[in-house]
């Protein structure tokens, strides 16, 4: 039995989105806006991969994001891993349909991840009202971008995954 390498294709897609997002954030610095599309990194693998491959994919993406951000190494990895486990648990036990409520789940997951980061990294600023104002403003802009980019990214991942599947079947034949 040959090893199924297609999960690396999904990691590759995540890396592309991450780099594009960094590019966008780099251009938005004079507005002090920070776009965060973490939910897509977590949810996309759930559509295409089994639990273990998806978990590995999410962890690798988290590590890449951690390496380029000035946070404790492992923060994104842990957040992504925990979110992935929670979503998988909900899908398996409560029959949460990812395909039917795709946009809603992506948006809610992204808001939860952003808020979690806001709480973990906020420190003493969490007691100030304006901190939450700025945080929610950033979340709102990220949600809008996610709404625009989400469908495109999922179809991109689907295309490259299908392409990889064809290549795999040709190679095996």
């Amino acid at each position: 039995m040959k090893y199924d390498y297609r999960w690396l294709v999904i990691v590759f897609g995540n890396v592309i989105l991450m780099l594009l997002c960094q590019l966008l954030n780099s251009g938005l610095t004079n507005l002090s806006l920070y776009l965060f599309l973490g939910a897509l990194f977590v949810i996309t693998p759930m559509f295409f991969l089994n639990f273990f491959q998806g978990f590995l994919c999410v962890l690798l993406t988290g590590l890449l994001l951690d390496a380029s951000s000035p946070v404790v190494f492992g923060l994104h990895t842990f957040l992504f891993g925990a979110t992935y486990a929670t979503l998988y648990f909900l899908v398996e036990n409560y029959h949460l349909s990812l395909t039917q409520n795709r946009s809603l789940i992506i948006q809610i997951t992204n808001i939860v991840l952003y808020l979690a980061m806001g709480i973990i990294l906020g420190g003493s600023h969490m007691l100030k009202l304006w901190y939450w104002g700025v945080l929610f403003y950033n979340i709102a802009v990220s949600s809008f971008v996610l709404f625009v980019v989400g469908a495109w990214f999922l179809s991109l991942q689907e295309s490259i995954y299908n392409w990889a599947s064809k290549e795999k079947s040709v190679l095996h034949d």
Partner: protein, 283 residues
């Protein structure tokens, strides 16, 4: 039934194992992994930055010869003004050396300027940093001062093979000794969390009571030699209001920084000529 329940907890079980492995991993493994993952992404930022430079180059090529002649004429005028300043500077340096010698003072630190292009800006609610296209092989070291034509940019935070990250002066993690222009008494400066659509800000503490500022007559905050890495007198920001500090003895206030700080394309890293100072800063 019990077997089924255990199977349902699979995601948590796998997550738990991962956390356990991560928590017990030695520090050097994490550091190595982090550096490896960073270096994996760095070429993308560099290529993007080079592409952007190339774009500017082609845009400049579209200028007419007349426009270029005008720019050259203006530059020639600036050069002659700077040449005069250089002569003045040389005589002032000579005077400083004479005074240092006669008063037996320790010599002032001399710096070499390493010019670097900015390849990525990373500003969020929690951190503010830029990535520059110069690294270990160019002699950059952690803690080195970074400046631009408008004043202080920040300090080098981490150095990689061909890139370095710079903590911006507006970052909440940035802290340095400063003073008001024309007043040598030190004031502690620290960056602050920045709000969207506004100039970056910082805050100052330990301001002596007799310093008066107002919106009509703001005071210039400049770098102090006391910090060790910055030369004296580099522009940091403007202070237009002060209030009583928490200790009741000193004043505190907000510092408005230049908005250019978030649009920088090129910066200069100050490398001290004195090797001992480099080791001191590194420590």
């Amino acid at each position: 039934m019990a077997k089924k329940n255990i199977f349902l907890l699979k995601p948590w079980f796998v997550l738990g194992i991962f956390i356990l492995i991560w928590a017990t991993l030695p520090y050097f493994v994490k550091t190595f992994t982090r550096k490896a993952f960073y270096e994996f992404q760095a070429p993308f930022w560099q290529v993007n930055s080079h592409a952007s430079d190339l774009q500017s180059f082609w845009a400049m090529r579209s200028h007419t010869k007349n426009e270029l002649i005008e720019v050259c004429r203006d530059l020639a005028r600036l050069n002659s003004a700077y040449e005069l300043k250089l002569q003045e500077n040389a005589s002032l340096k000579h005077e400083i050396m004479r005074l240092e010698h006669s008063l037996e003072l320790p010599p002032l630190v001399d710096f070499r300027y390493e010019i670097a292009r900015v390849c990525r800006r990373d500003v969020s609610l929690w951190w503010q940093q830029i990535v520059i296209r110069k690294g270990k092989r160019d002699g950059i070291f952690p803690g080195a001062a970074v400046v631009y034509s408008g004043g202080v940019v920040g300090k080098v935070k981490e150095v990689f093979n061909s890139t370095s990250t710079v903590e911006l002066v507006s970052s909440p993690k940035f802290r340095v000794a400063t003073h008001f222009e024309g007043d040598d008494r030190p004031v502690t400066y620290q960056g602050e969390i920045n709000t969207s659509f506004s100039n970056p800000i910082g805050s100052i503490q330990n301001v002596p009571e007799d310093i008066v500022v107002s919106v009509d007559s703001p005071k210039k905050l400049v770098s102090s030699r006391l910090g060790g890495v910055f030369p004296d007198g580099l522009f940091v920001g403007w202070v237009d209001s002060l209030e009583r500090g928490f200790d009741g003895m000193f004043m505190r206030g907000n510092v408005t920084l230049e908005n250019n700080l978030l649009k920088l394309d090129e910066v200069a890293v100050l490398i001290p000529m004195d090797k001992e100072l480099i080791d001191e800063v590194r420590l």
